[in-house]
Structure formats: structure tokens, C-alpha cells
Symmetry: C2
């Protein structure tokens, strides 16, 4: 199948891209800058696609940065909360309707390029905090993308029923160089080790029983 | 209700914005530049919102212009087809997944601003040619927008069951200055009178039994 992979440069979407290629699909990757604090992830996406030798398109929608109101990931006035994803304060990291925007733009590009499907890496661990990673949301987007053009755009979200630890195991079996993926919401020189996504990343390696090659500041 | 109106500056979305205000809603308008050939419409949106005294936000996503492939509305290499919407050649005017992108971005802004709903002006006459104006697509987007955040974003599409002639009649009853709306896909100094949307506009006034104040070149 001809598939556009929505690649942030993070661990999940990198493993997804490796998986699609391993399955023999023709894969193109798209990354979107929406003004995220951790734009550093995009350079990881660039590196991954160069390494894999697949077409990559970065779409710069950083003008969206100031439409989202009070999200720690797009507003300079909101501090990135530290702690576990389960905590209420983590809601500050939600960028309103981010995933619909990413999927909508990716689908526009996919149609323009003649791809049949788009893939994104929402997973079971995301649901607690992110409304736009829940299976009910994904189901609704599957339907909307089926109907948005003359023919359907197929939405693939193969990680929806598995955890980040499962993704780490899968990535290991596919030879994903995890050190070449970026998670940290702070977007500094190194992973902070204290924000929600760093803590989730650490946990995933522990649960998968694997060595975490990430250099954390704390 | 607090509503974000997706206002292109065209006839339909202008009447929609007047209607929402007449119903007593608190209305904000958002217009999106996606690199459309007929960007002129956006200056009409600006004028309308100034006249109505409502907040207006223009979001410049013109970098999207070259992701859409061969659409006459975003590619300089594709000529705007002339003729009736029913004709096959009018498919050239479709911008792939445009409406999902507009609705997704409008919803992100609406959530950031604390609005409860977004409204757009898809109508019964659009269906033949535009997949992303069909009721089935709108139904799917209603569902996706209900689920994209912690609380629902309500999607209003009150013109879905009525024609452009009905919209003209409604606009007349609301005092909409039709000459201050822009339809033409060519986006020149005046309405060309020959593209699909000009012909539809002319027809709507005839069917509504009303005088068309638009100055057409042909």
C-alpha cells in the first residue's frame, strides 16, 4: 500500500514508520511544525527519513502556535508540567485538536501525492490524558477520512491497542535506533527526564525489560 | 451559544455569520488562507467582520498551497475550469481535504478561545462536486469534533439541507449586502461570471427571484 506516515520524530511514530517499511509498504513521511516547544523532534524525523531513504516532507504551520490558548507545548507563558501522565496537571500539555489538524493536513498531502492511506502512532498509553488519541476519536476520524474525498483515505492506527512498552519491544525487533528518537516536551539539548513524556519513555523501557539508551538530565 | 464561524468571505458563509448573530449568539469569525487563488475573498471577510463589529482572526496557512497537487484553486499550473458545477471538469476545483483542514484548525482556535461550537456553510448545492460538503462527511465530522477534546466541539452546518437560492433569500431577509461578498474562483478584480461558482451564484439569484448586485465581467 502507498502510505503517508505521520512522523513526529518521537519514539512511537519512528517505530511505526519502521514497521510500515518492514511490512513492504511504499512509505512517505510527513512532519508538521505547529509551533511546538519541542521542535527539536523534527530534526530527528529528518534524520530518520534520511537513514531510511524515504521521502520526507516538513510542513511549517508554526503560525498556529498562538491559536491554541494555554498549552504548555505552544505557549511560552505556560511551564511544562513535570510528573506522571496520570496527573491532572498534565492536561496542560494538551494542544487543542492537534491530532485532527495533523491528520487532516497529512491526508491533504497524501491525496495530492496519490497515497491510499495515512498512519499515525496513537497508542493505549495516550488515552488517559489525550482525548484525541482515544479509540472513539480514532474511529470517528477513520469514518471522516473515508468520506473526505472521492475515494477513501484509509487511516491506520496500529498501536491503538498496545502500550508504549509493547512499542519499544516491537521497535527493538525492527532494529530501531531509539537514541535517534526524541520525546521530551522541554525540547532542550537533552531529554529532561522529568516531564510526562520522559517519565513515560523511561517506564516503557523498564516494562519492556530493555536498556534505555536515552541520555536524561535527571 | 459562543460560536466560531468559518468565514471565507463568500456569500454562503457571510449569510451564515449574519444568521448566527441574528439568533443572538456570541460570534467570532475565523478565515483561513490556504493559498487559494481567490484570496481576494479574505478581504471581504475582513470587511464583513468590521461592519458587524465581531472579532475576526485570519490564519495564514498559505504554505499549504503546494501540498494539494493538481487543484485549480491552489496550483498555478492548473487553469480554473469554466462551466457548470455539474460538469466533470469541475473536479479540478476540489482542494483535497480542504474542509477537514479548515474545520480542524477552526476547532483548535475555538477551544483555545473557549467557544462551544463552530459553524460552516456547506449547502445542498455543493454535494454534487465536493465530497467534503456531503451530509455523510459532515456527520462524521460532527462525531469527530464531539470527541476531539475533553468536552465536545459542536459542529453546526445549518445550510446542509437548503440550496444556494434559499441562502440568498435568507440573506436578503437578514439584510446581507451581497455585493460585499466574493465567490469567483478566478479571484480577479471582478467576478468573471464564467467559472463554476460564478455561474452558481448567478443561478441562485435567478432562482430566488432576486436582483443580483454582482458586477460580472461576462
Amino acid at each position: 500500500m502507498k502510505i503517508t506516515s505521520v512522523l513526529s520524530g518521537g519514539l512511537d511514530s519512528t517505530v511505526l514508520t519502521y514497521k510500515l517499511l518492514a511490512e513492504g509498504h511504499s512509505v512517505r513521511a510527513v512532519s508538521i511544525c505547529y509551533g511546538q516547544r519541542h521542535q527539536r523532534e523534527l530534526s530527528y524525523a529528518a534524520r530518520t527519513t534520511r537513514k531510511l531513504g524515504i521521502p520526507w516532507r516538513m510542513i511549517d504551520l508554526s503560525v498556529l502556535k498562538d491559536i491554541f490558548g494555554k498549552s504548555s507545548q505552544t505557549s511560552n507563558n505556560v511551564t511544562v508540567p513535570h510528573g506522571h501522565y496520570e496527573e491532572e496537571v498534565m492536561k496542560l500539555t494538551v494542544v487543542p485538536n492537534r491530532n485532527m489538524i495533523l491528520l487532516a493536513v497529512a491526508a491533504g498531502w497524501a491525496i495530492g501525492q496519490g497515497d491510499e492511506a495515512i498512519a499515525y502512532a496513537a497508542h493505549a498509553g495516550d488515552h488517559a490524558i489525550y482525548p484525541d488519541c482515544r479509540p472513539v476519536f480514532v474511529d470517528a476520524m477513520v469514518r471522516a477520512l473515508q468520506l473526505c474525498h472521492y475515494g477513501p483515505v484509509i487511516l491506520l492506527a496500529p498501536f491503538l491497542g498496545i502500550t508504549k512498552a509493547d512499542i519499544v519491544k516491537l521497535g527493538d525487533s525492527l532494529g530501531v535506533p531509539f537514541a535517534e528518537t526524541w520525546s521530551c516536551y522541554e525540547g532542550g539539548e537533552r531529554h529532561c527526564g522529568q516531564c510526562g513524556t520522559c517519565i513515560e519513555r523511561k517506564e516503557a523501557f523498564v516494562l519492556a525489560g530493555m536498556v534505555d539508551p536515552t541520555e536524561y538530565l535527571a
